[in-house]
Symmetry: C2
Subunit: 671 residues, 2 copies
């Protein structure tokens, strides 16, 4: 099991004073109660009974999300001069057919033939077989191994819990089951169906038989317009909206790469059985960057700025050996040692590490896990996930993939639009090339509808790959692997490859795409766990130590009494703050100051101002810092200005302490 | 026809220097070309042929939209302490059944029985009958009236263009047609079907017969989860997401009204035949506020702050008399004279006027039009639309409606959740009331499933309405109008109403909801038209005089030559600006300075910095203001600071002129 006590030791970076947080056992039910009570989020249509996998964000959750997105926009779009996009959610089916989502974005499901209950086929087979193996061990009196591997722990969360029964199995069956589990991710739907029949797998609850596996596409489908003939899907990612606009984006950027497009928006996945709160939902906000780069030059102009950023890496070769230990390494070293494929990918890993730390993610619970070869999409060149550790285990929150030229190529082939970059060479160049000639008629008859794709692929190959094919053709045949994932056999009568010398003035290429893709809800939930702790004095009420740049409210304003003059004063102060853009909130209820501060801590509000009768006399108020509970005092307008600068991050608490006087007159925690 | 020359005289409020804009004929094709060339927006999936009513925003359009939304969030959510929400787009069908959308959010359509072509029934009948009347006039040699009424002009845009043929009609037919047109909005679907048959209306293009009208619901439908049994719709407005969360919001606000919730998000309407660019689309961004208020006290605490704001009003009684002249009036006067129903509605009219002016809408092309009695939803108490004038006529861009207690009541009745406010009275109060008693059994048998609704409605009525019903019952029968829009007849054997005296400690009520609802795409497009003009010297290239707070890019940075040192310098300056959050853009292409400035004007970028060899020597650069083309010069870091303050609005151009020296060395417009 994953250690959760680290949450209480994270320190918001803008605070320089020590924080009196106490180590404690992480208490998820208490956090969950806080998040519901303070309306961070709640099941959508709760008064109608709700629907699994759909959540609404309340005032605190919405403001936190808006602030995270605002920081994201500044960190990436503004600071890196990215081209922002806002494309439609409703997507023409043809677009997602081309991208492969219509055919491949699916899971296999089986139904209880009597009750109609639905299961994800692979998860159910795995759970039942694991339960049988466990029952076998119990029957054999074998204690099961401790500790279980983290990765398995993670998988289990996704699955239906199946109870084991102590029944001894034949040795050969145990062997067969173990081999089955080792390759559970590799079975096709029909193969899963065979396994269900062969091993008599049934609904664990009812004991009823199961249907044949049926493919269930995870996209929500709808129809556009009144005829019902234009099919559309709600996008499962924002990425395709970037790719179909590539030609306009390239023109906007004066025809040059590298450049990046960026988009923040909703996407939808109709999960078969969503669980895990905000971590697996049917509707979610993403922020995606598509960085277009010359395939022959993946350097990055600003690489130097991030080369010293420390990453926590879990490379693929370590995982392949069944190990999970993490390596600390700078971005510069990781690229130099070729652990990370190229500078641009390394640059985004570094920038993303900085972003996640800036908004308050605990770097000790953050790692970059590289995809293993069999995990990656067939077209991907390299892929790293930022995983954040929470009570649900290590969860992918940001994916950084090199998608190669896959998407632009398939859309270009399908629409016959040139989604390519033309680069004028500084001076004409004599080039030794391999010229590819086709027997057009024969080629067309052999490959029919696939002919164009194969032709484009061959014409787009680099010289050394082409040389390999030429060599193989000399021996009678070769094959071409295309963007659709298939290999096509070619023979010398179809294709001829000959060396030629040409003078080139232009170079033309399809850019590669490096894609950092952020799941905002997952980051937001992880941040809440990382920010949560409880004071020694009052364990029932938690504190959310959110950095002030993302905290939903920046400042609470209270009085020590219900006196009308004091009440009028705090509303006046709040109005002043709001007018200069500080999200401040008045609490003029009859609760005690201690209770008001405790509420405030639960909302993650970093600063609190208190007004008393001295304030009226001297025009002063106090300023409290949430984590340390330290207090300062000063003229009301000075305090407002200090809060403004604290919120903008131009000063920290020690800076504030130089501008205002220390104060220790008000009791913080209720007796 | 609407005058369009006003566009060239609007002055961005932050600039105090005179602007050398010239009056000119508004040239929509040139603006459209600019918007496409500079990728403000484009048809979605354009490389796949596109789909009507779906548009993608490019880098300029997205940034403009993000800036408008940022201003909106500051103006309303932050400054007014509203509770932000972010609720799901995918909505459970039951929710929209209760709100009335499943039954009523529909248009009637007819089909060409042979080709299947689809028309909106009312629009087609109207277009065909109008064409026949026009043909009749031609046959009679009558010149048709000039000018046509604006409102008719607007309607025509929505309709299929039908050619008139000069055929004389019987006088009685002309009379019948004219009466038909006058009430075209009042026909039900079956009545439209009768009209089609009676007047032999056919597809104007093919001459084929038309089907009976069929109701077409404008919501996109989908299924949630793998069983296909949970029906969902994409929300047609964000409002229902507020109402279903009312109980949590009220608790968050310590049980007190008034307060407001606010949400920015996408909504969807599956229009039968979308036209008019961004003004009638199938997917769009809205920003909605739901302000919850005591029905007996619709005053607003900050009303004084907006009472002097000038509005341009078109009240309902003026329209009812067939007139369209506008009245200038302050918010304070409009409420005092009861032209606007209450302070809270008046407050939002004032705040919205300020918001629209702040982002650059020309106040001379902005009016508040009140809904006429037959236009309003049956439950609405008062409704005003902010209409913005563009080349499409006067278009509704913001609706401000008093939705009364309708939504909260219907959701409360349906879910049996109390969506009500409990208010403790300062001291117990003896109240003369009317007590309503039901014959439960008889009442239930008479009204069946509607019984609860009618009961709740009766129990929720104010005393004077109840007295009317009591008086009517004394005469044998009365009726109750319910939130479902129907009236139910009641008799003395079902309901008894008697005066009683009670001592009350609490007051309980369903709040009324005042809803300002913003169509962001419509505002954005109107703003582009209002900001567009062309200089005398170069009519082919336009200028977008967007206020700097919303302009997509804030500053362009260029050099006078392609010298490597100068190029490095401008990238360094841009990076500095971006790091402090100024969206700046380098143009290091080989175009002339004049051409670069012209591009910049098309993007609406308010400021431009130019670096030359003197810059390297003296560490200076020049600063150009887009509208006046005036230039200043200063130390690079000083200029950056001035730009920062200009963008934040803390100084204006005359303030900048005091901080930097005048400059007149670089030719602005290409010779």
């Amino acid at each position: 099991m994953v250690s959760q006590s680290a949450a209480s030791t994270s320190t918001p970076s803008e605070l320089s004073t020590p924080i009196n947080k106490t180590a404690h056992e992480f208490d998820k039910p208490t956090l969950d109660a806080l998040l519901a009570r303070r309306f961070f989020f709640a099941p959508a249509f709760e008064i109608y009974g709700g629907v699994a996998g759909l959540y609404d964000y309340g005032p605190t959750g919405s403001a936190l999300q808006a602030n995270i997105l605002d920081q994201w926009r500044k960190h990436y779009i503004i600071e890196e001069d990215m081209l922002e996009l806002d494309t439609t959610i409703m997507t023409l089916s043809e677009v997602l057919k081309t991208s492969g989502h219509v055919d491949k974005f699916a899971d296999w499901m089986v139904k209880d033939v009597q009750t109609g209950e639905i299961f994800r086929a692979d998860h159910l087979v795995e759970a039942v077989i694991e339960a049988r193996l466990k029952g076998d061990k119990e029957a054999r009196g074998v204690k099961h191994e401790e500790p279980e591997k983290e990765e398995d722990e993670k998988k289990k969360k996704k699955k239906k819990n199946v109870k084991s029964v102590a029944i001894k199995l034949e040795d050969s069956v145990v062997e067969e089951y173990e081999s089955l589990l080792a390759q559970i991710d590799n079975y096709t739907g029909p193969q899963l169906g065979e396994l269900v029949r062969k091993h008599n797998i049934r609904n664990p609850t009812t004991g009823n038989e199961l249907s044949e596996p049926v493919e269930f596409n995870l996209m929500f489908e709808s129809n556009i317009g009144p005829t019902g003939q234009i099919k559309g899907y709600l996008r499962p990612e924002t990425a395709q909206g970037h790719f179909v606009n590539f030609a306009r984006l390239l023109e906007f950027n004066n025809g040059k790469v590298p450049f990046a497009s960026a988009q923040i928006g909703r996407s939808f996945r109709n999960e078969i059985a969503p669980r895990q709160g905000l971590l697996r939902v049917r509707e979610f906000t993403m922020a995606e960057i598509e960085h277009y780069v010359d395939p022959l030059d993946k350097r990055h102009a600003r690489f130097n700025e991030v080369k010293d950023v420390q990453l926590t890496l879990l490379p693929k070769d370590v995982q392949t050996e069944g190990r999970t230990e993490l390596t600390q390494m700078t971005v510069g070293d990781a690229v130099a040692k070729k652990i990370v494929d190229n500078e641009t990918l390394g640059y985004f890993l570094g920038r993303t590490q900085l972003f996640l730390e800036k908004i308050g993610i605990d770097p000790k619970r953050l790692r970059c896990r590289q995809h293993m070869a069999n995990e990656m999409a067939h077209y991907a060149a390299d892929c790293w996930d930022f995983e954040i550790q929470s009570s649900y285990g290590w969860i992918e929150c940001v994916g950084c993939a090199d998608r190669s030229a896959y998407d632009l190529t398939v859309h270009s082939v399908r629409t016959k639009q040139p989604l390519r970059v033309q680069q004028k060479l500084d001076e004409p160049k004599k080039v030794e090339k391999l010229d590819v000639q086709f027997d057009a008629k024969k080629f067309g008859m052999t490959f029919k509808k696939d002919a164009t794709l194969i032709k484009e692929t061959l014409l787009g190959l680099e010289k050394d790959k082409l040389q390999c094919i030429k060599d193989e053709l000399a021996n009678g045949k070769s094959s071409v692997k295309c963007a659709d994932g298939k290999s096509y056999e070619i023979t010398p009568d179809l294709v001829k490859i000959d060396p030629i010398t040409v003078t080139e003035h232009m170079r033309e290429f399809t850019p590669n795409v490096i894609e950092p893709s952020f799941g905002i809800g997952r980051i937001l939930y992880s941040l809440l766990e990382h920010s949560y702790w409880a004071r020694e004095q009052d364990k029932a009420r938690g504190v959310l130590s959110l950095p002030s740049i993302v905290a939903p409210m920046k400042c609470l304003i209270v009085t020590i009494s219900q006196d009308p003059e004091l009440r009028a004063k705090i509303h006046e102060i709040s109005r002043k703050m709001r007018r200069i853009g500080i999200a401040s909130r008045v609490d003029d209820s009859s609760a005690s100051i201690g209770k008001k501060y405790a509420r405030n801590d639960e909302l993650g509000t970093p600063f609190g101002c208190t007004v008393d009768f001295a304030s009226i006399k001297n025009d002063t108020m106090t300023l409290r810092e949430r984590d340390s509970t330290n207090q300062l005092i000063g003229k009301i307008d000075d305090v407002i200005e200090v809060v403004d600068q604290l919120v903008k991050g131009t000063i920290d608490w020690s800076g504030a302490s130089q501008r205002l006087e220390p104060y220790s007159g008000v009791q913080d925690v209720e007796e």
